[in-house]
Symmetry: none
Subunit: 225 residues, 2 copies
DNA sequence: GTGGGTGGTTAAGAGTCGGTTAAGGTAGTG
DNA sequence: CACTACCTTAACCGACTCTTAACCACCCAC
């Protein structure tokens, strides 16, 4: 699922945006001031960061600058009121990827968010754990350099596990991530896990896909932790 | 249910906030001075702590600092009057997660509390007492660095004990926390406590799981308290 | 001493969970 | 239409887990 960070001091606006994005299947995190936003952006992965220019404490441009200096390449979409547009527009060269003038259409916002996320994934999107690599762009998975063949659903299972590795993912969360709201009945997940094991672990000596009894699964090499 | 600790010397304000939060289904605990607040925060589990900066006895920033030094990672929301705004920046270096300038809207407060609680649940979470560590994300428990194997129910028992350590938890509260409303008959809890002891204490010289006769159990090293 | 309450220990049956396999159905493709 | 790939479902088995009941040990009041 796509994850977006909203840094905005107008809580009503933030809430509206967040609710709309959630409807589109985009998960949102929220900070009401610059420092909190910066810390969140540093500490977590986001597909896109939504940044208000005018913020209490630490303004959007400074946040942007600081993130870029650290090598953080998360796409940033600036939001600005019309009357602040003039003097700030040159500052957009600071590493901002796009901007939007308030008030804006939510539909337009989502379109740009998705475009930004897509653009980034066109650059380099690689999930990795141990000798297991998933290239979301090229859409292939390798273990130890050797390509693996995965069906679409199994792919999604592995992707969510990789995004959390080496943490555990509960069965509920896994089903939610793979199927969304319309879950399959029965034991579909069990079968896909089985197939995933067959593809990822069976040909190799060390197993990466661990079962956490009574809870879920984790991608983790046996003797770690 | 979500639990929030309010540390605030203005009783009227605290009361107003507490009543509003209760309406939203958030359970509140309350301290009117810094020391009481610090002790409550140390001894109990909270989803979020609401901290006034200006407090008699022990100010909010010091409380925040002390909690962080102990490894307590409960999200902290600072409340500050407008004329103390400068302190805010300082607060963020102490480990504050968000702040709010008085007077504030109750609606905004609840929104931020919920955001903080949601965020925490998505990131690293470690429960610790003595040499016992429970990583809720990786979903493993270690004592003295050595991994322990726990069944799901025993896990839940240990988790609630850890959240309250080193305070005692009554048998009723423990059953409530583990089974919710549908309690098992008979002496199921006794058996799980026994199994928990076998896993956590048996291989080690000092016992952590203490029985409080006539009341319940506590996680606490023998000679403490 | 006796009896009842409390807590610790053990074992057994019922039930659940995870792994595995196979069958049926659907969609896409040539 | 035939073929393939894939997903869901059902069924089965072994392992594990939970509950339950029974027994034991202890403390305390009577």
């Amino acid at each position: 699922m796509m994850k977006v960070l909203i840094v905005e001091d107008d809580i009503d606006l933030a809430k509206t945006v967040a609710e709309y994005l959630e409807l589109e299947g985009i998960s949102c995190d929220y900070a009401s001031n610059g420092l909190a936003g910066l810390n969140l952006a540093k500490g977590n992965y986001f597909d896109v960061i939504l940044l208000d220019i005018n913020l209490p404490g630490l303004d959007g441009l400074s946040i942007c600058q600081q993130l870029r200096e650290e090598g953080n390449d998360t796409p940033i979409l600036m939001m600005t009121a019309l009357d602040q547009l003039d003097d700030k527009i040159e500052g957009f060269q600071m590493g901002t990827d796009d901007y939007l003038v308030k008030p804006f259409e939510l539909k337009e916002l989502t379109a740009r968010i998705k475009a930004l996320a897509r653009r980034r994934s066109g650059q380099a999107q690689l999930l990795r754990y141990n000798d297991l690599e998933m290239d979301l762009n090229a859409r292939n998975v390798t273990r130890g350099g050797q390509a693996l063949k995965l069906s679409p659903t199994v792919w999604r299972v592995l992707e969510t596990l990789l995004r959390h590795a080496p943490n555990a993912v509960s069965k509920d969360a896994l089903e939610q991530a793979v199927w969304g709201d319309e879950l399959p009945g029965s034991n579909s997940l069990k079968v896909h896990i089985f197939n995933l094991r067959k593809a990822v672990d069976a040909p190799y000596s060390i197993a990466l896909l661990q079962t956490i009894p009574g809870h879920g699964f984790a991608l983790r090499s046996e003797h770690e932790n």
